[in-house]
C-alpha cells in the first residue's frame, strides 16, 4: 500500500507538540501554577477568582481582629487604670472618714480625690488611632469637667466590625454605659466624695466612699466586656488562621502544580523531543538513491 512519502510535516508537528509540552511544563514549574490562563482550566480559574476573594476577605477579618485587639487592650488598660484610681479614691475616702484627721490632712485627701477625678476624666477621654474609645459614635471629646460638674458629650451608639463570615463584633462600649451607671456618674460620685471631704463630715465621707465603691464595681463589671471580647478575638484569630491555611490548600489543589508530576512530564517531553529530533535526522536522508551507485 502506498503511503504518504512526505512525512516531514507530521514529524515537525510531533516535534512542535513536544516542544509546546516542554514550554507548558517549564511555565508550570516556574510559576508554581497549573492554571496560568483561564483556558488552561476555566472552572479552576473561575474558582481561583473566588478563592482569592475569600482569602482577601479572610485576611481583612484577621486585620480587623488585630485592630480590635489593639483597641480593646487599650480600652481594657484604660479601665484598669480607672479601677486603680477609684481604689485610690476609696482609700482616701476611707482614710477621710476617720474622725481624727486634721483639717490639713482632709485638705490633702480632698486634693488627692480631685486629682483622681481629673485623672478619671482624662482616662475616659482616651483615644485610639484618633478615635475616642468611650464617645459612642460621635467624634468629639466625650467628657468635659466644668463648673457644673462632668458633662458627657458622646452618645450611646455602638459600632460593629465584621470578624468572620456572618459574624460581627461590637467594637465599642459607649462612655455613658461605663461611666454613667445606674448609681450616678463615676466622676459625679468622685465629686460627691470631694464635697464630703471638704465638709469634713465623717458620715458623708463614708457614704460617698461607699458610693464610689459601687461605681468601682460597676466599672469593673463593664470592663468585663473587653476581657470577654479579647478572649473571643483570640479564638477568632485561631479560626481565621486555620481558614487561611484551608483556603490556601484549596487554592493549591485548584491551580497549584504538582511539582513531581510536572518535572516528570518535563523529563518525558525532553526525552520525546530528543527522540523526535533523532528520528528526523535519521529518516529524512534515507531513500533508494542512497543505495544506488
Amino acid at each position: 500500500m502506498r503511503v504518504n512519502p512526505n512525512y516531514t510535516p507530521e514529524l515537525l508537528n510531533s516535534l512542535w507538540n513536544v516542544e509546546q509540552q516542554e514550554q507548558n511544563d517549564i511555565l508550570e514549574l516556574s510559576t508554581g501554577r497549573s492554571v496560568n490562563e483561564p483556558s488552561d482550566n476555566p472552572a479552576a480559574a473561575a474558582a481561583d477568582v473566588e478563592n482569592q476573594a475569600a482569602q482577601g476577605q479572610n485576611d481583612q477579618y484577621l486585620q480587623n481582629t488585630t485592630d480590635l485587639e489593639g483597641m480593646f487592650q487599650t480600652a481594657q488598660s484604660t479601665l484598669s487604670s480607672v479601677v486603680t484610681a477609684l481604689n485610690q479614691a476609696i482609700s482616701a475616702g476611707t482614710e477621710g472618714a476617720n474622725s481624727g484627721l486634721s483639717a490639713s490632712n482632709l485638705q490633702s485627701l480632698t486634693q488627692e480625690v480631685q486629682d483622681i477625678q481629673q485623672q478619671v476624666v482624662t482616662l475616659a477621654n482616651t483615644s485610639y488611632e484618633g478615635a475616642y474609645l468611650f464617645a459612642g459614635t460621635v467624634n468629639t471629646q466625650p467628657f468635659t469637667l466644668g463648673a457644673g460638674g462632668v458633662q458627657y458629650n458622646g452618645n450611646s451608639g455602638t459600632n460593629t466590625v465584621p470578624i468572620a463570615d456572618g459574624s460581627t463584633m461590637q467594637s465599642n462600649v459607649p462612655g455613658s454605659q461605663i461611666f454613667l451607671g445606674t448609681t450616678g456618674s463615676v466622676m459625679g460620685l468622685l465629686q460627691q466624695l470631694v464635697t464630703a471631704l471638704q465638709s469634713g463630715n465623717s458620715t458623708s465621707i463614708g457614704d460617698a466612699t461607699t458610693a464610689v465603691s459601687s461605681a468601682l464595681n460597676y466599672v469593673s463589671q463593664e470592663s468585663g466586656f473587653y476581657s470577654n471580647a479579647l478572649s473571643q478575638l483570640n479564638s477568632n484569630q485561631t479560626f481565621l488562621q486555620q481558614e487561611t491555611v484551608s483556603l490556601k490548600t484549596q487554592d493549591t489543589s485548584l491551580v497549584g502544580v504538582d511539582e513531581a508530576t510536572a518535572a516528570t512530564d518535563l523529563s518525558q517531553a525532553t526525552t520525546a523531543q530528543s527522540a523526535a529530533l533523532a528520528a528526523i535526522a535519521k529518516v529524512i536522508p534515507q531513500s533508494l538513491l542512497n543505495y544506488l551507485q
Binding site: 512519502p5 512526505n6 510535516p9 473561575a46 481583612q60 485592630d67 459614635t137 533508494l288
Partner: protein, 460 residues
C-alpha cells in the same frame, strides 16, 4: 510480414515513449517539495496489432496521456477542514488576547473587588479614620480604573480585528481573481482531452488558500470550478470573479458586502474571516455586555447603599460611582466623589458611626439583578472567557489532527515518492537502453544485408 524497418520503427517509437516517461519522472522529482504538486504518471498503451495473413504482429508502444493522480473528494474534504481549522485558529489568536485581560486572580477587577470591600471592612474598625476613608476611595478608583481599562482593551482588540477582516477580504479577492484566470485555461485543456495537471495543481492550491480565508462551496462544472460562499454568494463563475467589499457597520465594525451589494457578514462562518468575525461580532460583544452589566449593577448597588447612610458631616450619602447605564457602563465607571468624608459610613448621621458600612459590605455577597454576587459574576465571566478560548484551542487541535490525516491520505495518493520515481527512472532507463540496443542490432543487421549485396561477385 515483418521487416527490419518495422522493427526499427517500433524501437524508435519506444525510445520516444521512454524519453517522455523519463521527462515525467524528472518532472515529478523536480517538484517533490512543490506545495500543491500532484504527481503525474505516463499512461502507456500497446499499439494496435498488425495482422498479416494468419500472423498478428505487435506494433510497439505509445504514450496516450500524462495523467495527474488526484482525488477530488479528498481535496474537497481538506478544503472543508481548512475552513474549520483556520476559523478555530483565528478565534484562538483573538481570544488569547481577550483572556489575557482576565488571567490574573491577584490583580485586575476580581482583586479590585476584594480590595474595595476590604477597605470598607477596615473602615468599620475606625469610621472617622481619614486614611481608612481615603483607602476606600483609592480602592474604588482602582476598581473603576480597571473596569475602564478592561473595556478599553476589549474595544482595542475588537477594532483591531477590522484590519484582519479587511486584509482577509483583500486576500480572498486576489485568490478568486487568480482562480478566474485559471478556470478557462483548465476548461479548454480538458475539452481538448489534455491533462491540465499543472494548472489544476495551481487552482487546487488557490482553493485551499481560499478555504483558509473563508467558507466556500466548490462545484466542478464544464467551465471549470464554480466557487461561492456558504450562503451561495458567487465568488468565481467560469472566468469571472466577484470581488467582496468591506464597509463600516454598526459600532465602527467592518461588514463584508457581496459584489451584488448585500451584507453577507452573518453568513461567513469559516476560515480566518469567519473566525475573526465570530470573535469580533459575538464573543467580544458578549463579554462587553456582561462587563457593562456588572459595572452598572455593582455601581447601582453601592450607590443605593450609600443612599441609606450619612457622610461624616451628617448629610445623606451621595452616589459613590457615576456611570452611563447600559452599554458602555464599564468604560464610564468613575468615582463621583473626591472628598473621603463623603463616604456614607454612618447610619445615624454621627461622624463616628459605621452602621451603614454593613449595607455597603452587604453588596459583596448579595445577588445583583444578574442573579449572582459581584465576585461570582466576575468569576463566571472568567469561566466563560476561558471556555471560549479552550473550545477554540480544542477545535484547532482536533481539526489539525483531522487535516493531518487527510493530508496523509492525499499524500499517499498524490505525493511524489522518490523511491518510486527512482525505480521508474531505472525501469525507463533499462527500457530506453533496450530499445536503443534493438535499433543498434537492427542497424547491424541492415548493414549486413547491405554488405551482403555489395560483396556479391559481378556477373561474368
Amino acid at each position: 510480414m515483418g521487416s527490419l524497418s518495422f522493427a526499427m520503427w517500433t524501437a524508435a517509437q519506444a525510445l520516444n515513449v521512454d524519453q517522455e516517461a523519463l521527462d515525467v519522472t524528472s518532472n515529478n522529482i523536480a517538484n517533490e517539495d512543490t506545495p500543491g504538486y500532484t504527481r503525474e504518471v505516463p499512461i502507456l498503451q500497446e499499439n494496435a496489432a498488425i495482422t498479416d495473413g494468419n500472423i498478428t504482429y505487435g506494433s510497439g508502444v505509445e504514450l496516450t496521456q500524462i495523467q495527474s493522480v488526484r482525488d477530488q473528494v479528498l481535496e474537497l474534504q481538506i478544503a472543508e477542514q481548512n475552513q474549520q481549522q483556520s476559523s478555530a485558529q483565528a478565534q484562538t489568536n483573538s481570544l488569547q488576547q481577550v483572556q489575557s485581560l482576565f488571567s490574573s486572580s491577584t490583580s485586575g477587577i476580581g482583586a479590585d473587588f476584594t480590595a474595595f470591600f476590604s477597605s470598607l471592612s477596615q473602615l468599620s474598625t475606625n469610621p472617622t479614620s481619614e486614611p481608612y476613608r481615603q483607602a476606600v476611595l483609592t480602592a474604588a478608583q482602582n476598581l473603576a480604573g480597571d473596569f475602564q481599562q478592561t473595556e478599553s482593551n476589549l474595544d482595542t482588540i475588537q477594532s483591531g480585528l477590522n484590519q484582519t477582516v479587511g486584509q482577509t477580504v483583500s486576500q480572498i479577492n486576489t485568490i478568486t481573481a487568480q482562480i478566474a484566470q485559471l478556470n478557462p485555461q483548465v476548461g479548454a485543456m480538458q475539452q481538448a482531452g489534455q491533462d491540465p495537471g499543472a494548472l489544476e495543481d495551481q487552482e487546487d492550491e488557490l482553493i485551499q488558500q481560499l478555504s483558509q480565508s473563508t467558507n466556500v462551496q466548490v462545484t466542478q462544472t464544464e467551465s471549470g470550478v464554480t466557487i461561492s460562499t456558504g450562503n451561495g454568494t458567487p465568488l468565481v463563475v467560469g472566468g469571472q470573479s466577484y470581488a467582496l467589499q468591506t464597509a463600516e457597520g454598526s459600532s465602527g465594525m467592518t461588514d463584508v458586502i457581496s459584489a451584488q451589494g448585500q451584507d453577507i457578514t452573518g453568513n461567513i462562518t469559516g476560515g480566518t474571516l469567519g473566525g475573526t468575525l465570530q470573535v469580533q461580532k459575538q464573543d467580544i460583544p458578549s463579554v462587553l455586555t456582561q462587563l457593562d452589566n456588572l459595572a452598572s449593577q455593582f455601581g447601582t448597588a453601592i450607590n443605593n447603599a450609600q443612599g441609606k447612610g450619612f457622610d461624616e458631616n451628617g448629610n445623606a450619602g451621595q452616589a459613590l460611582f457615576s456611570f452611563t447605564a447600559g452599554a458602555g457602563a464599564a468604560s464610564t465607571l468613575k468615582v463621583a466623589i473626591t472628598d473621603p468624608s463623603l463616604i456614607a459610613a454612618s447610619s445615624d448621621g454621627t461622624a463616628g458611626s459605621g452602621g451603614n458600612i454593613a449595607n455597603l459590605l452587604a453588596v459583596q455577597t448579595a445577588a445583583l439583578p444578574s442573579g449572582a454576587s459581584p465576585i461570582d459574576t466576575y468569576s463566571n465571566l472568567v469561566d466563560q472567557v476561558g471556555n471560549l478560548t479552550s473550545q477554540a484551542q480544542t477545535q484547532v487541535s482536533a481539526t489539525t489532527t483531522s487535516l493531518n490525516q487527510l493530508n496523509n491520505q492525499l499524500g499517499a495518493i498524490s505525493g511524489v515518492d522518490i523511491d518510486e520515481e527512482t525505480t521508474n527512472l531505472m525501469n525507463y532507463q533499462r527500457a530506453y537502453e533496450a530499445a536503443a540496443r534493438v535499433i543498434s542490432t537492427v542497424d547491424d543487421l541492415t548493414q549486413s544485408v547491405l554488405q551482403m549485396g555489395a560483396s556479391a561477385p559481378s556477373a561474368p
